[in-house]
Every structure is written in C-alpha cells, then in structure tokens.
Assembly symmetry: C2
Homo-oligomer: 355 residues x 2
C-alpha cells in the first residue's frame, strides 16, 4: 500500500508514526530501517531505496527522544550566563549559538543573575538532563556544584570567568589582570593619582583579576589602593549608576578617574555623571572593560579594554563541540588566554589641577 495523498503526509507528522510503521510498509524489519537512517552503506541499495521511498512519502522523522535514550546524546548544550540582557553576554551567546547550530547542537539558555544558587541549580539541572556539553560564562568562585561536573562525563568549558581550580579545567578568557593593569597604567600615565575601582562581586574571578591588575599598576607607583576608592555593585548598568552616584558624592576627595571592571557598569557611571553634571572626561576620566558594541557609540565613546567577546564565545563553542565529537580529546586541557587591548576613545583626559 502506498501513501500518496497530502492528508496522509500530514498525518505522518501529527500521528507520530514510528519506525515500526515504516518497517511494515517497506516490508523490512525495524533494524533495517534504523540502518538506512544511520549506516546506509550497510544496506543493500535495492532495500535502501525501498525504505527511503517510504520514509519520503510518509515524511517520517525518527523520534529524537528515543534516539537520545539510546545513543546517550541529546544535542543540547547548556549555556550559563549571568544576564542575557547584558550586551556582553548577548554577544557571547549569539556566537556560541552560531557555532553550535553549525554542528547540530542546540542551546539551553540559563540566566543566573549572578546568584550562586541559580548557578548551582542550573549545573545540577543540566547534568541531570544529560546535556552534551556545558558552557559556564558566569561562574562564581565559591560555586558549590562544580564537583558534579567533574564527576559527570559531560564536557564543559569556562568562558571569561574561571573557577577556583582552573588548572583542571578548560577555559577561554581574556588576560584580565593584564587588562586591569593596562587600564590603570593608562590613567596613571595621564597624570591621575586618585583612581577609583568600580567592580562587581568579589566572588567572580574576572573582577578579582582586573582588580589585581589595577592594584599592581598602582603599587608600581607606590600608590596602594585606598579602601574608600573601592566600589562594588551589581554587574549591570544600574549597579554602575548607583555606585557612580556614591563616587560622585565623595566631594573634595573625589577621584579624578575611575577604572570600571566592565563597560556596562561604566555606562551606568556615565549616566550618573550626566545626572550630577560632572563632565567626562574633564572632571572625571573613565575606563571600562569588555568593549561592548555600545561603547563605540558616538554618544558614548568609552575608552575601554577590549576583549573580543565574539571570539571568546565562538572559540569556547568550538572547543566544546570538538570535545563532544572527539571523546579522546577530552583529557587534554584547552586553556586559552586572549591578550587584552586598550581602546582609547573619549572618556579620558589628564586631571584638572584643583585647589
């Protein structure tokens, strides 16, 4: 019996016909149908064509769930970020998605909002759901569930932020310390000495390392970082804005420059400056970190440390996919550190001489 009408073809999609139906219609066993689908070269041409014909007319697609259960692969890649609303992560995810799709893998998006519990929850979920791989883009150094990853067979990779035991892991990141150092050095070279640090949570490696770079540059000039110049808020525009207001409220002792641990916060700080009518760069110099597309806007022109997010994302995706596809490569560590680059735009100037 042949199936020809459009209605039947439609039914095929709706009615979830199975490999048994195909086998019956083609007059073969379901093993053969499975072989036609997976290892066609092992099926005689005549048989293969007959089966293929049935598959085509019925518009049959094997159930991916049943398949996943067998071959133990889901085609899912978990991507954990802190906030997709942050252009930094959006760009990262976008690039990850592109390389994954090219290899028939799909992305599970997880926003942790920077909360440790959310990260732990998602790690557990992804392990249980048997994701084929996991990309951690926003790990907290005190995150508890990483051991689940080490114990599972699932390949995973860190991007941008690293965990405590980084030697054991794969990662792709920028040289954050070097970046922080460059930014601060640049401000010092302009003549600034009162340089504040505006960062995120201390539990994130990127923040910590950028701070280390900041500290290093200051120490080289015998200017140890001062407690009252250290600010840390939420890793977002609002965080930058709120802490920014506090910085600007510092009065006489106000710093003449701020190194922001990320662009998104820096833009928040710029907002605060506008609101308080503090002129940038005349009254306050600002350097950011990340070089998100926004920073290049003519109305923003943020001087920043660039760390090609797109590359970060794409490369991490590639490495992960490679490990998924080639299990023998899983025990060689891939640890990539991109050199940062200072992008000088218009938010920095020498300090005005006051008093």
């Amino acid at each position: 019996m042949k199936i020809v009408s459009k209605e039947d073809a439609m039914k095929a999609v709706k009615k979830n016909l199975t490999i048994n139906d195909i086998a019956a219609q083609a007059g073969v066993s379901k093993a053969t149908v499975s072989r036609v689908l997976n290892t066609p070269e092992k099926v005689a041409e005549k048989t293969r064509n007959r089966v293929l014909a049935v598959i085509r007319t019925t518009n049959y697609r094997p159930n991916p769930l049943a398949r996943a259960l067998n071959i133990q692969r889901t085609g899912i890649i978990g991507v954990i970020v802190s906030d997709i609303t942050n252009p930094f992560y959006a760009l990262m995810v976008r690039n990850i998605e592109e390389v994954c799709r090219a290899h028939h893998h799909y992305i599970f998006l997880c926003n942790t909002d920077g909360r440790r519990e959310e990260e732990e929850f998602y790690i557990r979920s992804l392990v249980e759901k048997k994701a084929d791989g996991i990309i951690l883009g926003a790990t907290q150094m005190d995150s508890k569930n990483l051991h689940l990853l080490y114990e599972s067979e699932i390949p995973f990779i860190f991007v941008s932020r690293l965990p405590q035991e980084r030697e054991r892991c794969d990662y792709v990141t920028a040289d954050n310390e070097q970046g922080g150092y460059m930014a601060t050095q640049y401000l010092l070279s302009l003549g600034h000495t009162r340089i504040a640090y505006l960062g995120g949570r201390w539990e994130t490696s990127s923040n910590l390392e950028r701070f280390e770079g900041y500290k290093k540059a200051l120490m080289e000039r015998d200017l140890p970082p001062q407690e009252e110049y250290l600010f840390s808020g939420e890793f977002r525009m609002e965080g930058g804005y709120e802490e920014g207001l506090r910085i600007l409220a510092l009065g006489k002792n106000r710093p003449t420059a701020v190194f922001c641990a990320n662009d998104y916060m820096a833009i928040g700080l710029l907002e605060a400056c506008r609101e308080r009518r503090v002129k940038v760069p005349e009254e306050l110099s600002i350097v950011g970190f990340d070089d998100i597309p926004l920073s290049a806007l003519k109305s923003i022109q943020l001087t920043t440390v660039s760390q090609s997010v797109a590359e970060l994302g794409a490369l991490s995706g590639k490495i992960l996919i490679d490990k998924i596809l080639n299990p023998q490569k899983r025990n060689v560590r891939q640890q990539v550190v991109f050199p940062p680059k200072l992008v000088v735009r218009k938010t920095c100037a020498p300090p005005k001489i006051r008093e």
Copy 2:
C-alpha cells in the same frame, strides 16, 4: 546492604544507576520505585520510606530522557527570536526565561537573524525535538513552516510579530498601528510635514503595521507617504546607521523628521547624525519604537513609543505554560494587544524654518 560512603554516593551520580538498581536495593519492583517517584500516595508508607531511603543514600535521579520518552514531555520551550543581541529580544527572552523556570521548563534559544529559512529550520527542529511549547518572537509573514505547528499538538504563541493567519493563533503584541499613528501624529503636531519612515523588512507584521499607522496619520493631513521617504534596512543598529546615512544624504529635500520602526535602528540613525554633524533634534527629529532601556540613557534620550517588552515576554510565557499544563485550555484563543504609549524625551523639536 546499605550505601553510606561518599565514594558510593559519587558513583551514583557518575555511574548512572537506574531504577532497577534502586528497586533491587530496596527489595521492590521497579514499578514501585516509579510509583514512589510519581504517585507516592499509591505506595504503602512503609514501602515508600524504604525506597525513599535508598533513593536518598544513592542520590538517584531518574533519567529524564527515558522519562520524556514515556510521558511525552521534554520540559523544553523553544524561543525563536531574530537576534538576542538586540536589547529588545534580550529583555523579552530574559522575562520568558524567568516565568518558565518557575514552572520547571527550560529555554531553547534560537536566533533567526530575521531570515525566513532559519525560522523554518528552527520550527521544524523544535517540532521534531518535541518541545513542550514554542514562542515565536520574530516570525516572518511569509514563513512556510507554520503549518507544522498547526498540525502538531505543540502549543505555541506569537509575541510582538504576528503571522498572516493571526485569527487562528495565540499572541501577545502591542498595537503597532496605533503606535505608529501616535508617533507620526506627534511629529505632525510639532509642525513636521516631511517625515520619513525608517523600518525593517516588509515581511514582518510589526513593521507593516507601524507603517500603516504612519500612513494613516499622514493621510489624515492629506500628506500621502512619499516613496523617497521610505527606508527599510536590517532591523538592527547597523541597519539604522546605514539607512540613516542615506536619509541624511538627501540634501535639500531631506526630511525634517524620521519615524523609526524600532529603537535599535533609531540609535543607529542617531549615530549617523552624529557622524554627519546633523543636530538632533534641531535639524532632525527622531521618534523610535519599543522603548528599550538604552533609549532612556541620558546620552540618548530617544523619544519613542513604549511597548513594555518585559510584560510582553512574561505574559507570553505565562500563557504558554498555562496551555502546556492545562490541555483543555488549548483551544481557547488568547489574543492580547497592549496599548502603546508615547514617551517624549529629547529627540524631537519643531522643524526649523528653512529657505
């Protein structure tokens, strides 16, 4: 035999122990273990506790794949957007994710980049993968694979952009025509008569409807839209920038105002203005659409039509989850249209009198 050591518990995670192992250890059949997990009230308390004890010490988790194969639910919700890099979509997805997570559903992120083929590809993939539900945030009106959705049992909902046969579908959107009308009216009320339209692809409903609103407002004043004032580029900042340059190159006949079909493009246009040293709003008034967070920045201050993206996302998620959880509700159509709101900021002014 009781399992107590940490090593054993770890092995549990790694070694993928199955329901059979639990059954054996608890001295019951796997059916009973399954019941303890799914319908505990149907198991005698004594037995239940024994099984639970084993589950706890072994740290056993049922394989979600096997489970999905049985109950025909994956816990996956596909979210198709055109570009997560666009703050509009980022915000939308963020809110969708939040409501989904609250109901133990997870998000599959799909970027179509506004291309019809990608959308078709993803629709097909999601249907095949048996997603529990699909949110379409960037549908093209000429998209071909929607019929797969109608034919499948999978609940789906459109956000922001609608398909051709909208009567048959669930959707959450803003009143785009009304928004376009309001924006244009506002420009007219300021005294502008040479008002350009800068939009995206004509195949997207939101663009088309906003244009309709624009046209309606103009027609009421007997000012039919002029071909040379109609611009359409990529629905992104770059698109706005490029088309913006073309608008500004119009010389003598240059429009005095532009209604942009979305904020992201409007910001691109602002870039172009900065570059060509065209003063906004003195020499050119601009109204956007969407009211993305960026538009409120002090350095941008874009006058725009607001359509609470967050609400759009959250509500669409809620409706979809509701349909997934309550199949009986699936055949009542949910069609929500939010009223838009004009947010006047600083990119509009009366036209300068020239010549």
